[in-house]
Amino acid sequence: MIFSSYIFVLAFLPVAVLGYWLIHRWRGLETAMVWLTLCSLFYYGWWNPIYLILICSLMLVNYGAGLLIYQRRFAPKLLMIAGVTFNLSVLGYFKYMDFFIATTNDVAGTHFNLMHIVLPLGISFFTFQKIAFLVDSYHRKIEHYSFVHYCLFVTFFPQLIAGPIVHYRELMPEFLRIRQNGLTARHLAVGLSIFAIGLFKKSVIADNVSAPVGPVFNAMAQGVHISFFEAWGGLLAYTAQLYFDFSGYSDMAIGLAMLFGVRLPLNFFSPYKSRNILDFWQRWHITLSRFLREYLYFALGGNRKGQFARYRNLFLTMLIGGLWHGAAWNFVFWGGLHGAFLVVCHGWTALVGGYKNCPRFGQFMKPVAYAITFFCIAVSMTFFRADSMPSAMLMIKGLCGLHGVYIFDGENTFHHWLTLLGLPVEFSPYAIRYVDKDVLNNLIMVYIIIWFMPNNAQIFAAEHPAISQGELLRANPARRIKWQANWRWAVCIALMLLVSLLNLNNVSEFLYFRF
């Protein structure tokens, strides 16, 4: 039951929201939170009820451990380390066991059978939340313990499957705030509007722009040599698909939480408008970056032991971040690549000093910086999407034009221009098998939206629908398009919902569900 499905939008969500509001009115917040926990467990169990046992057992163990750590009754540090290790072991077993066996077989020449373990939905996300809870308990950052609250913190369905990765200490106050301020129509109006825009991004834009992605990457996986334009078409389509898929999901999560009167942390803020890779990681999967920084990078020593240690720790953090995304070498490589980008970025800033001495040159270099950053992000996405390292390398060759730069017979003007650019262009009836003019038009349209339209946080800035969005919004304020509760927006949102509902007939699952 994904957010972009009829069963979710037309059945589960109305029942969950209506029940929550009615129970809140008649029985109070605590009972409404129990209802919401039950709804969330039902939502999780819909995929596979067996895994309810896993998530409930993990909740029991972690809550108990957290409480013991907080109460300082028995070796809190040891308990915290044991708890973190336990959670990582569970994640390791489900997510990395087959990867470990396959790697062992490759390296040592052994023939252990793969276990083909089914990855429980969202395990990477809720494991991180539980780890954060244990560490926060140790540091006494948690003030109030309640098992129902803890269960809701872990299972709260808007963020259960694909984030954002929230802290207990930031989610619970949101619920408790309802006690003071109550649930109001504002929550419904803003929540529904943000959800509608997110649903539109996912079901209309992401799923339509993805048309060439499968054919190009599948052909590549089968060893077909993908030519220059096809490779770039497929890659740019995937880069846009991932953007709208994740952006749509993040908006939907924030909108859904808002329907229950709760704000989630901002997780996505126009990452392809980043001026450097550091900026990118402050805009892309913001809560993951925050988790990695607070619980991994700082744990490794951060920048306390000089520049080299800082770069090493950054690189290691990103390497592990890559592995978190998937149990395969291409994800590790992707993480390593971003680690390297970050090191280069920090090094460059240290060397040039951010053009402080020459602001005019800095201004001139700004578009170049945006372009280089996007280029690096897009190329790195090859490793994110490819099935394996060899097929990723095939794609890279295609992107470099090593598999030929072909256009159709008769496109002489185009040939002339490309030749002027120094490209070794040839005519072929096989020029573009997967990327046609429709795809090109779609790409132009979606990249205009990506680069020139405001994001949801900016559009809804006045309503403060997300936590910790202040700094990003101050640096990137909303300009022309601002949401207001009026007829124009009502019709616009209803139209978006209509088109999204129409498109739900053929949507795919969220890409981040796989992680």
């Binding site: 509760a485 009502a490 129409l502 498109n503």
Partner: protein, 416 residues
Amino acid sequence: MQYRSYFIAVLFALAVLVAGVVLTNWLVDPLDIYRVVRKDHVNRVKSAYIPYARLAKPSQIERGHYQRLAIGSSRMLMGIPVANAAWAAAGGEPGFNASIQGADLRQIRDLFEHAVVTGNVKSVLIDVDLFMFNAWVPSGEYPYPVATFSETEQERFVRERDTALSLLFSPGITLASIQTLRRQDEKYDKVMIDGTTNPEHEMQHVLEDGYEVRFRQFEDRMVRTGWSPCSDNRYVFIKGNVDKMQVFRDILQIAKQHNVDVKFFISPVHVRLLEMIHAADLWDDYELMKRKLVAEIAGVYGADTQGVELWDFSGYHHYAQEAVPQQPNVAMQWYLDSSHFSQALGHKMLERMFAAPDAELSFGVQLRPDNIDAVLQMEREQQVEWQAGNAELSRDLHKRTAAILKDKKINGTVCK
């Protein structure tokens, strides 16, 4: 505006819009399924039908209660007129052309089963060709929900729900409704009410392009997209667990069990296509296919072949040898391109199969175990005779086939 009023306004506007879309799709009926109203200049011309034909045909079959069905590929779609007196007399009314472009045998089988389960079909025509039996070419189930014999009540409910959702509330059909309302000119009238392609529309296009251009376009595309450049994996009837003849067997068994009169036919393709089949070293497979079809029919029906016939209209007969005009706006009588024949020839085939009084007896032959060797031998002799009389054209066709296959190999097709 208050937040509360805003929230109610969004839900109200959404409800109105959803109802509007469903009602529009139902009334405009771009796939000709509900047939509530059909008005000139409004929705009579189903200009958006063709891209959705695969979605439309199962529902059209189910709602039409047809006695006669034509199920096959584009050859059947363009060339077999349902309004044929001989077939109507033998099979009853109404009739419908349920063929789909590029249909493979599995899809034909699924549509046939769907028709038997949901309707009261008595007579079915099925078009088979060499490429439908190539196990190298992947085939899948029918891409939209169709009825099966094993369908439970719950599965039927899900199928009908999904189909209704697709037909009344999907982005494609909504756009199709808009396109239908916008395009009501005769030039968009591509499909007739009986499911057959509008011949006038098709002929007009071919005439404008010129037949030679059309023939070459089709031939090049067929070799480029349909045939592997690697001779080792160009054609095989069984590959792994894929046995295309099993699908044919399934069709025979369904027809036999449910007393449906079924006539298969091998189309009268133009000699140029036969020569290209020869050039690609596929002639032996072509003959083997015919032998296998005869054997399968005998295997399922035994000596009593009442209710099933296999007709062969292929070969180097005078229709197939019709000269191809080199300039535009000169018409051919029997062909649209090397593979697709005109409805005039389709009428002749139907008259022959359904024994009309004025049928041309030398055109087409019913294949049986006792005549298959003789028929194939005669075709081989006709082939040699034609090649001798058309040496230059034959050489050109062989050369073009070889060149396309070679080019295809250079451009990345991996021979496994």
